[in-house]
């Protein structure tokens, strides 16, 4: 099958949907003339022109809100945040307007909008530029939150998000845009809200999502050398969450480690742990263990960011713990 980069998959998804539906536009900082801060919209200005591929000033609240308004009046905006750190400036428009409009209007006004861009850390960028807000957005009813981890999923999920009648956040990563993977030429859509078992295993279930899945896979590979068989599940969506796929796997392996690049308090890992103990209590042979980022802001220095982030070593340690192997 054809191999392309993550950023090309994102670009194809947006371009195909824009060809198919005049109502779809792309708006954000540096998306048009600069071809995207991370080149995820390369060539789109040339193809669709400035009416539909729209550069904005640095005014996240303004352009996010304008796009919510446009969605209330029949358009289907794709809003790019240069990173989701900057969506904090616009979060009022997402939480109070996009997420609530359909309910507040008693079903009169839905908001078919996509907010997308990179999330979480990307090297030594320090406290304000390394944050993962997936769990914040996932906490809010009215939104859907998708976190693809490979080019195939990125394309299929983004196309689904653009066609969705509800507001969807698609959270990517600077550290995935260059990743390559198989993406078919033919069109496909991936249903939002379905997790995927990306590695079969029998001894322990690792649940993760987004870029940090790379760490989960590295740990699984390392442990395979010792004969420990890890099943790795990619959540792909953190709202809704596909609990069934996780519970099924945990009932098989009887052990679970969750790997999440986010602060631990009120995290997706907390939520999963609750549901696992509720629905698979009698199947567990060990407490569920999670590997999150440290309960601190990220810090610049290489020694500190290493301490902050989940790593294969930390995941291996957790897996050994649930297997009572340390």
């Amino acid at each position: 099958m054809r191999i392309i980069q993550f950023r090309e998959a994102v670009c194809e998804a947006m371009s195909e949907e824009m060809r198919r539906d005049e109502r779809v536009y792309l708006m954000g900082e540096e998306v048009a003339e600069y071809n995207g801060a991370y080149k995820a919209s390369k060539g789109m200005l040339d193809e669709f022109g400035p009416k539909r591929v729209i550069d904005t000033p640095i005014a996240e609240l303004g352009f996010a809100g304008i796009s919510v308004g446009a969605a209330m009046n029949g358009l289907r905006p794709i809003v790019e945040f240069m990173t989701f750190n900057f969506s904090m400036v616009a979060i009022d428009q997402i939480i109070n307007n996009a997420a609530k409009m359909y309910q507040m209007s008693g079903g009169q006004l839905n908001v078919p909008i996509v907010f997308r861009g990179p999330t979480a850390s990307a090297g030594q960028l320090a406290a304000t530029h390394s944050q993962a807000f997936e769990s914040w957005y996932a906490n809010c009813p009215g939104l859907k939150v998708v976190v693809p981890a490979d080019p195939y999923d990125a394309k299929g999920l983004l196309k689904a998000a653009i066609r969705d009648e509800d507001p969807v956040l698609v959270m990517e990563s600077e550290q995935m845009y260059g990743d390559k993977g198989e993406v078919p030429e033919e069109e496909y859509i991936i249903e939002i809200g379905k997790a995927k078992v990306k590695r079969q295993g029998t001894d322990v279930t690792i649940v993760s999502f987004g870029k940090i899945l790379k760490v989960a896979f590295a740990a699984a590979e390392e442990l395979e050398k010792e004969g420990i068989s890890c099943e790795v599940i990619d959540l792909r969506s953190v709202r809704p969450i596909d609990y069934d796929t996780i519970i099924k796997s945990v009932k098989k392996t009887n052990r679970c480690v969750i790997v999440e690049e986010a602060w631990p308090l009120g995290a997706i890992s907390s939520e999963l742990t609750y549901m696992i103990q509720k629905r698979a209590f009698d199947y567990l042979d060990a407490p569920v263990i999670r590997v999150n980022t440290a309960d601190t802001p990220a810090a610049y220095s290489p020694t500190l960011i290493e301490e902050f982030l989940p790593s294969p070593e930390k995941v291996i340690k957790a897996i050994r713990a649930v297997l009572y192997k340390d």
Partner: protein, 331 residues
């Protein structure tokens, strides 16, 4: 206050300061290529006259706050440049103990309040520093800097209004270097005279040629005097230029080499050096001595930073809360 005369001493100090800032940052970009500095690195190269002119108008106790293009401001205010270099390299002897890096320089001792990475985020903070000085009956002024891109943020407009409403002792300085990343000023609004944004708030406002520290100083002295005497805020559009890319990875397709070359003819360091020579303020030899001092100090900064260790990983948990025994989640 009457304007300070721009004496020989002022010119020589400007020359040495600006040259040091330039060489210091040239060194950081070399260190970036060696991967000893990581993440983003936004250089002030070309904009030095804004800082040089401003500093001359400031009195002890006056404050400064800016965005992420912030390596040289604390040095200008008196911070030890060796500690700034150590911060850039993520070392424990850095101003933030290696936690902040390039975008987050702070020096409370020298009244420099950062060092901010979210575009527009520092603008209300600057007005807030001024609010506290006024509240405490202190006669200080806060200089609040931002880029041309930042004035399109809501935080700017809300702060302009509040600063006027409450008559705060603050000077807002827009460092208009022509671009916000790859977006030129004319692509961000239906007007390019950014200083006119003050008119709607009836805030005294003006543009200044900011390639020359003299014109910056003159405008700044008026603004600082106004603020200190209870006359409230001023908005200054400092027209400048950045010679380097936005950060370290920027192909700069949005401008021409000719445009950069045009502005290089206006280089503030050259302007100041020319005046020193025209007025015989220094001999060739004396200028060489300054250049050598600058070179030596840059080297000292690098040596100091190289010798400083990376912070111990325990440092990650320090300075999150003032409370000493805060119960972090560690499992």
């Amino acid at each position: 206050m009457p304007k300070k005369p721009i004496t020989k001493e002022v010119y020589l100090k400007w020359y040495e300061d600006m040259l040091f800032w330039r060489r210091f940052e040239d060194k950081t970009s070399a260190l970036y290529i060696q991967q000893k500095i990581r993440g983003f690195l936004h250089l002030y190269n070309g904009q030095e006259a804004v800082l040089a002119g401003s500093l001359l108008a400031m009195e002890h106790g006056d404050k400064m706050i800016t965005a992420y293009r912030n390596h040289v401001q604390p040095i200008g205010l008196g911070e030890d440049p060796r500690r700034i270099m150590a911060e850039l390299m993520g070392k424990v002897d850095g101003t933030s103990r290696g936690k902040g890096g390039s975008m987050h320089m702070f020096s409370k001792e020298h009244h420099f309040y950062g060092g901010h990475g979210i575009v527009g985020g520092q603008i209300p903070l600057g007005a807030g520093l001024a609010f506290a000085d006024k509240y405490n009956g202190k006669n200080h002024v806060t200089l609040t800097y931002m880029g041309d891109g930042a004035v399109r943020q809501g935080s700017f407009h809300e702060t302009m209004n509040l600063a006027m409403l409450w008559n705060l002792p603050v000077v807002f300085v827009i460092e208009n270097n022509g671009y916000a990343m790859g977006t030129s000023v004319e692509r961000t609004a239906n007007h390019t005279e950014i200083w006119k944004l003050g008119l709607g708030y009836e805030m005294p406002c003006l543009p200044v040629d900011a390639m020359d520290p003299v014109t910056v100083y003159e405008a700044m002295q008026d603004a600082v005097d106004r603020a200190r005497s209870g006359g409230g805020p001023t908005l200054i559009e400092a027209r400048t230029y950045r010679y380097k890319g936005h950060s370290m990875s920027d192909a700069q397709h949005y401008r021409t080499k000719e445009e950069v070359a045009e502005y290089q003819k206006l280089d503030p360091i050259t302007i100041v050096l020319d005046r020193i020579k025209e007025n015989n303020y220094a001999t060739e030899e004396e200028i060489e001595t300054i250049d050598q001092r600058v070179k030596d100090l840059v080297k000292e900064c690098v040596d100091f930073a190289e010798a400083s260790p990376f912070p111990d990983k325990e440092e990650l948990w320090q300075h999150i809360y003032v409370q000493k025994d805060y119960p972090f989640i560690k499992e």
